[in-house]
């Protein structure tokens, strides 16, 4: 089973960085963009704003000639001023909505620009079938071509390393400055990305993508939002907003003859104002900004989502399928305890274990040295230069040291060491099996230690669960997300780790097929499943999962199959992605609720004042000064609330890992009840401020 090789990379906040995006020009560009987006062909994509836009044109016409749609009673000069003001506010409303979208897009564009700078044309040395080298432009490379790159070159295209070992600087895409070692055959570290730079040595690369379709190209398109399509939930919400707009269009269009009948006539500009106040302009103006910002938040986390749909799906995830190694545990087992046998003291065992590990460069070996030296003051009692290290091999399953005096010290899998002891004519004490069983029960890995035919004891190697994971899993449980751990370990070891980490379920001795099976099983129950993976054999499971996050260090196949790629290759990020997905949906719901709840106040501001002639002035509970002032105040509120909420739309509503009911109570209180009350206060204040009588 594939495991990730990446260890922890620090806290969530230290990971939050956008690679080299220049944000300074975003706002100027957004202001420019908001005017470009006034193009009716663009506005029409947003039905709510399109109505406002059409309304603006009509009010502009009645500003020029107030009597265009029939004579109005009041004097034309006064009418012109009012209509002009209405036109201006409506125009600003459209502009603000455009601005919200442009700011959200701008952040992605800035990121895209910095990525694009890495994609400049380079000269590639293409290997011809006859072995000679031809210099071609990187844009001429096709899938299947082989190229040679040497230290200092920009890698011209995505590909797989065929020959050579070299270190590559991938900071252009990951923001991580430490170079990465690339070599052929090793699934994970054999894939290279176009636009990254080779720092040492040389590589022969098999190109795996055609020009314009490489990883960086796709990333640019994604962060830029060029391929942005509305997510299913966004579409559904747009439908609702469109229906609401239509409803209010009918309401306002039909109110005119009724008002005339009861001798409380009104003007077209005022009716349009009423319409614009009632239709859900707030959410209509911010909807696409919320979606883009959601993608952007994911991108700031150094995760590239292939679609907004994938980000949304994160919020819906019911089950996380997590690899044990690298995700839940640090990936390295560390020595925790020495268990002596055969009457040896623990100090003797530590001494021998130290001797067995001095040449062992693996983290396990280093941890044994550390434990022996620190806890038991063990010393190396021989000359290192004359001793010889014995490397671990899959055949012997042991490593150790051959001392100058001819003694052979070994440590390794208990069975293997037992065999070694027997071959040297030693006896196997019964305690060794007890120690073995004890360590296994604890979920650890036992390593036996011997010197020639003499068994010294067992080293308890412990799997270390990453710090803070237990709390994260508790949070997930409170959000209703179940976690399943997959591991190649046996059931006993797996259950101990599962308990320690606090996952809900685990699958021991898992194969890549098990991964797909568990995903399918969960999906058959109607659940949405998220998982991470990096190896080629993870690709089917990544494709099967509703949210598949591939590690950037992973193979091309894994990245193709996934719908998200984590540039930092940190599998624990999956947990953060769930929170980001939820935050996106909550933000959308909160602003929709707020927008609709606002209608009560707007009704009470406008209807009583414009139909004052019908004697319903008593409904003017806000005590607004005059019909003109009421209309202008409501419209100003309506327009200003959009830019006021842009920061919230971009940042997202604060997310807390609470149960659904707690979340609903909290958000209904803030955005529902708040949405009813806030405009009453705001409209009244605006009415007091503006010098309109």
């Amino acid at each position: 089973m594939q495991t990730s090789t990446t260890a922890t990379r620090g806290t969530r906040d230290s990971r939050r960085h956008t690679p080299k995006a220049d944000m300074s020009g975003v706002y100027q560009r957004a202001i420019r963009e908001s005017f470009v987006k006034l193009d009716p062909r663009i506005v029409v994509r947003n039905p709510v704003m399109f109505i406002v836009w059409v309304g603006t044109i009509v009010t502009l016409l009645v500003t020029i000639d107030p009597n265009l749609f029939g004579t109005v009673s009041a004097d034309a000069g006064n009418q012109r001023l009012l209509n002009g003001l209405i036109t201006l506010i409506l125009f600003l409303t459209v502009l603000f909505a455009n601005f919200a979208e442009a700011v959200a897009e701008g952040r992605g564009k800035a990121q895209a620009d910095s990525l694009r700078s890495t994609r400049s044309d380079t000269v590639a040395r293409k290997l011809l079938p006859n072995g000679s080298i031809q210099e071609v432009s990187s844009t001429e490379l096709r899938r299947g071509d082989q190229v040679q790159v040497v230290a200092g070159d920009m890698i011209p295209a995505d590909g797989e390393v065929v020959r050579g070992i070299a270190s590559v600087d991938e900071s252009a895409i990951t923001g991580e400055s430490a170079p990465v070692l690339k070599q052929p055959g090793t699934d994970i570290s054999s894939s290279v990305t176009g636009g990254t730079r080779i720092l040492s040595d040389e590589l022969i690369i098999n190109v795996t993508s055609d020009p314009g379709q490489g990883f960086i190209d796709r990333m640019i398109a994604l962060v830029e939002g060029a391929e942005r399509t509305k997510t299913p939930n966004e579409i559904a919400l747009t439908v609702l907003l469109t229906v609401l707009t239509l409803v209010f269009l009918i309401v306002v269009a039909t109110v005119s003859p009724l008002a005339n009948y009861v001798e409380a006539p009104t003007t077209i500009a005022i009716l349009i104002s009423l319409l614009v106040a009632l239709i859900p302009t707030t959410i209509g103006g911010l909807l696409s900004a919320i979606g883009i910002a959601g993608m952007d938040r994911v991108a700031q986390f150094n995760v590239i989502a292939t679609s907004g749909r994938a980000v949304e799906a994160c919020g819906d995830v019911n089950t996380l399928v997590l690899d044990k190694t690298g995700t839940i545990t640090l990936g390295n087992r560390l020595a925790d305890e020495f268990i002596p046998v055969n009457g040896h003291s623990v100090e003797e065992l530590a001494q021998v274990a130290l001797a067995a590990s001095v040449f062992d460069e693996t983290p396990e070996g280093k941890s044994i040295v550390q434990l022996a030296e620190r806890e038991y003051q063990a010393k190396v009692g021989f000359d290192r230069s004359t001793a010889e290290g014995v490397e671990f091999s899959a055949r012997t399953r042991m490593s150790g040291t051959d001392l100058p005096n001819g003694r052979e010290i070994r440590k390794g899998a208990v069975d293997a060491v037992k065999g070694f002891v027997r071959s040297r004519g030693g006896k196997i004490p019964a305690e060794i099996d007890e120690a073995y069983a004890r360590v296994s029960r604890l979920g650890g890995t036992p390593l036996a230690v011997c010197q020639d035919g003499e068994m010294y004891g067992v080293i308890y190697l412990k799997d270390i669960v990453k710090a803070g994971l237990r709390e994260r899993f508790d949070q997930l449980r409170r959000m209703g997300v179940k976690t399943i751990m997959l591991t190649g370990d046996n059931a006993i070891t797996a259950s101990v780790i599962a308990q320690e980490a606090g996952v809900d379920d685990f699958i021991a001795e898992a194969t890549p097929e098990d991964k797909i099976d568990v995903i399918r099983r969960e999906q058959n129950e109607g659940k949405l499943v998220a998982m991470t993976g990096d190896g080629t054999n993870d690709a089917p499971a990544l494709a099967q999962a509703n949210v598949g996050v591939a590690m950037n260090s992973g193979t091309q196949a894994a990245k193709e199959a996934a719908n998200m790629v984590d540039l930092d290759s940190d599998p624990t990020k999956l947990i953060d992605l769930v929170a980001i997905g939820k935050q996106l949906l909550i933000t959308r719901g909160a602003l929709t609720t707020f927008s609709i709840a606002n209608d009560i106040a707007k009704y009470f501001a406008i209807i009583p004042t414009i139909f004052a002639a019908a004697g319903i002035g008593a409904l003017n509970i806000m005590g607004l000064k005059s019909p003109q002032s009421a209309i202008i105040s409501a419209l100003i509120y309506n327009a200003l609330i959009i830019p006021a909420l842009i920061p919230l739309a971009l940042k997202g509503v604060q997310f807390r890992p609470l149960t659904a009911n707690q979340l609903l109570r909290r958000n209904i209180l803030i955005y529902g009840v708040g949405g009813v009350i806030a405009p009453f206060i705001a409209i009244k204040l605006i009415d007091l401020i503006i010098p309109f009588s």
Partner: protein, 582 residues
Amino acid sequence: MLQGWIQIGLTLLILVAITPLFGGYMARVYQEEKTFFDRILNPLDRLLYSAIGVQPKENMTGWQYARAAISSNIVMALLIFFLIMNQGWLPLNPTRVPAPTWDTALHTTISFITNTNQQHYSGETYLSYGSQMLGLGYHMFTSAATGLAVGIAFIRGLTGKPLGNFYVDLIRSITRILLPISIVGAIALLAAGVPETLAGVVVVPTLEDPAVSQAIARGPVAHYEFIKELGENGGGFFAINSAHPFENPNGFTNLVQLVAILSVPSSLIYTYGVFANNIKQALLVYLIPLSILVGFVILTAIAEYNGNPAVNALLNVDQAPNLEGKEVRFGWAQSALYAVITTASMCGAINSLHDSFMPNGGFATLSNMFLQIVFGGQGTGTAYLFAYLLLAVFVTGLMVGRTPEFLGRKIEKREVVLASFLILLVHPIAILIPGAITMAFPDQLSGISNPGFHGLSQVMYEYASAAANNGSGFEGLGDSQPSPIAIAGGAETSTTALWWNLSTCFSLLAGRYIPIVSLLLLADGLSRKQPVPETVGTLRTDTGLFTGVTAGVILILGALTFFPILALGPIAEAFLISRGIG
């Protein structure tokens, strides 16, 4: 005063008390569990199924169900239209009434087929006994059963079950629910003094002057009366409906009628609870319409009790009940209660003239019909209520950070399209557009008897009543053609009546069949969705909090749409009266 409130309170208490019993019974009927009538009725059912060629076990898709409902309605409509247009020579016509005008016949047909029973005619002078009994009486069963069937199919789909078979549901609605209860109810009314006869008009000398004789209309009233209430039909045998002493002679018959009117739509919410295996949710949802209903009853009754200040000033009293347009045997309390309940439930029977109510009554009755969920129509009211619930889930459900889901089924584009179209758009189209046209040409089209705010209420009430399939009238409009006898005597037909007949036909049809199709498609789609298991991350819809949220959504999305009308109609009128100009 106290007596009036006690009457109101007891009636509502009885209604609430029968809800679980009747709701549970309906659940048994539609889940095909054993019921009391099986022994006699099962063979009858089987006979009917084989006669019409229905495989009772065959479930229908949403489209099939809707097609079956609509096509059977069309056949029945053609039948009744034929019957009315030919009543002149058909039997059962002792008063020898000729056929009414075609537009009256068309409006009557559509009005009855849609379970509305809006009457632009007077029963006793426009229609023969045959037309009333065979044409209209028959429709009172089938149109009610159609609504019930759609409602039950919706509940099935919502709770993830197959929709069932329209013909089976239609037949079982009639044979297990409407018919048996109607028989018992009709006998009760008969015992309380409601006539049931095929004999024609009786001519008697008046008490005041024996030399003067009076013709008293009568007919087969009792059986017609009960299904009129139980099936939410509301079309009276006599022009003045349940105000007529032969339809509703006393307090007991009034109570029987009120209970019959509200029993099906309110109990159906409990039936939902049984289907969803979540009685708690049913009871919470039940509180929404119940509290609106109680609120409206109190609002209306207080105003009727206090009376019109202008009239009181003339009488030199502080308070005197407003009895204009009311039967003294019912008084302010039972009249107010009846008016609110009949408009809440889309029955449309009346025992007093809604036109004469204080503006509070106009506000309550209009709002009832705008909302359509204060228990609402037969079957459809419950469905609307849950469609609102779906919308509430969609709008606020996002705030828990998941794609909104109801009973584990995701609410996506299709559901939002159908639900929002259904409960947000159809009603404004069917009420506001024809209403605005009428108000734009008041002289040519409306024939309004009162100018100003009250006239506006009259017009909007008529369309609201048609679109909500209620059928009651505020009255005071020139919406009736002269009676067939008068036309035979040379009376001119009226243009305003033609306009009213045709424009309300539009509202009637739009308010009935667009929702039926949408509801069935909505239910069908939901029933096919793979349910998502519930976790603590799932929005629970059976909590007080969410019920409150739903009420808020109903208020903002359902009621505020009609706020301008209410403001320019009853609210403006109320302010007018309170200023002492009434």
